[in-house]
């Protein structure tokens, strides 16, 4: 019933028009969507698989799949969220293939509370940015996030690195909002604990 809508009209995401044109066979419109999201999809795939070649393949596969299934995209979610969901599924499949004996899913390793209970109570001083240069810092952040179980790593990457909302993260991962929240909290706490090793205030007379 459009009659009782609020006076503020909801802004239509620019992707909606691009997707509609791409569905009608406009290749330039699809290329524009590829341009907009290829880097993000690559980063997400690399975060999950931790492997550059895999991430390249997955990025190609994800866009090909999106292109082939474009007619099935109903527009209930953002196009970018739908795309991320395809890339996450492709990435998890790739991880499963790599570890033949072990199944990899979003549910793996997330049952345990281990590592989520704070044990390090030192402030970080000076700030991480003051303690390390940019390259060193990136290296520490990469190594630390790599140590998280895939189920935590993926939630944290989408929510806190790629800045998806909690709802979008839930949609992209096929999880409920409470499940995302619970994993996000534990991922953040585990990362905090691990990063404390590098960033904690050094005590006088103690080796770094």
């Amino acid at each position: 019933m459009p009659a009782i809508q609020s006076p503020v009209t909801e802004e239509v995401h620019p992707d909606v028009a691009l997707v509609a044109r791409a569905k009608d066979g406009d290749t330039a419109a699809f290329e524009q969507l590829v341009r907009q999201y290829e880097r993000q999809i690559f980063r997400v795939a690399q975060h999950i698989t931790q492997n550059r070649e895999d991430a390249e393949d997955i990025t190609q596969d994800a866009f090909l799949k999106a292109y082939e299934k474009l007619d099935q995209f109903q527009g209930n979610s953002k196009f970018s969220t739908w795309l991320v969901r395809i890339a996450v599924n492709e990435s998890l499949m790739r991880l499963r293939k790599r570890k033949t004996s072990k199944t990899v899913s979003m549910d793996e390793d997330v049952q345990t509370e281990e590592g989520s209970i704070p044990r390090d109570f030192a402030e970080w001083r000076p700030n991480p940015e003051q303690q390390y240069n940019q390259a060193e810092l990136a290296d520490i952040l990469r190594k630390t996030i790599q140590g998280l179980p895939p189920g935590f790593r993926t939630v944290f990457t989408l929510r806190d690195v790629e800045n998806l909302s909690t709802e979008e993260t839930a949609e992209a991962l096929g999880l409920s909002v409470p499940a995302v929240k619970s994993r996000l909290l534990r991922a953040r706490l585990q990362l905090r604990e691990r990063l404390s090793r590098y960033f904690r205030q050094k005590q006088e007379g103690q080796p770094a």
């Binding site: 290749t27 590829v34 690399q46 975060h47 940015e129 990469r142 706490l189 990063l195």
Partner: protein
């Protein structure tokens, strides 16, 4: 509010999903609890340091290669 309660509200605190009342309870608790104050501060720093961090740089060369490969694969089909 005790330390366990605070921990369970931590994510909502940073995502700005808490009522004024709960925020106030957290600030009262952290004023008197050094451990929770540190956990709150350093968790905040954890989120901030990762926010937008370009951990996997996509060089222009890689981007071009990737882009061309995507387009070739999509449009070879039709």
């Amino acid at each position: 509010m005790n330390c366990t309660d605070l921990l369970s509200h931590l994510s909502d605190y940073f995502d700005d999903q808490l009522s004024e009342e709960l925020r106030e309870e957290i600030s009262v608790h952290t004023a008197g609890c050094q451990h929770c104050r540190v956990v709150l501060n350093t968790t905040h720093q954890t989120i901030e340091v990762y926010k937008g961090a370009e951990l996997y740089e996509v060089s222009p060369g890689l981007r071009d290669r990737l882009h061309d490969a995507i387009m070739a694969r999509c449009f070879a089909k039709k």
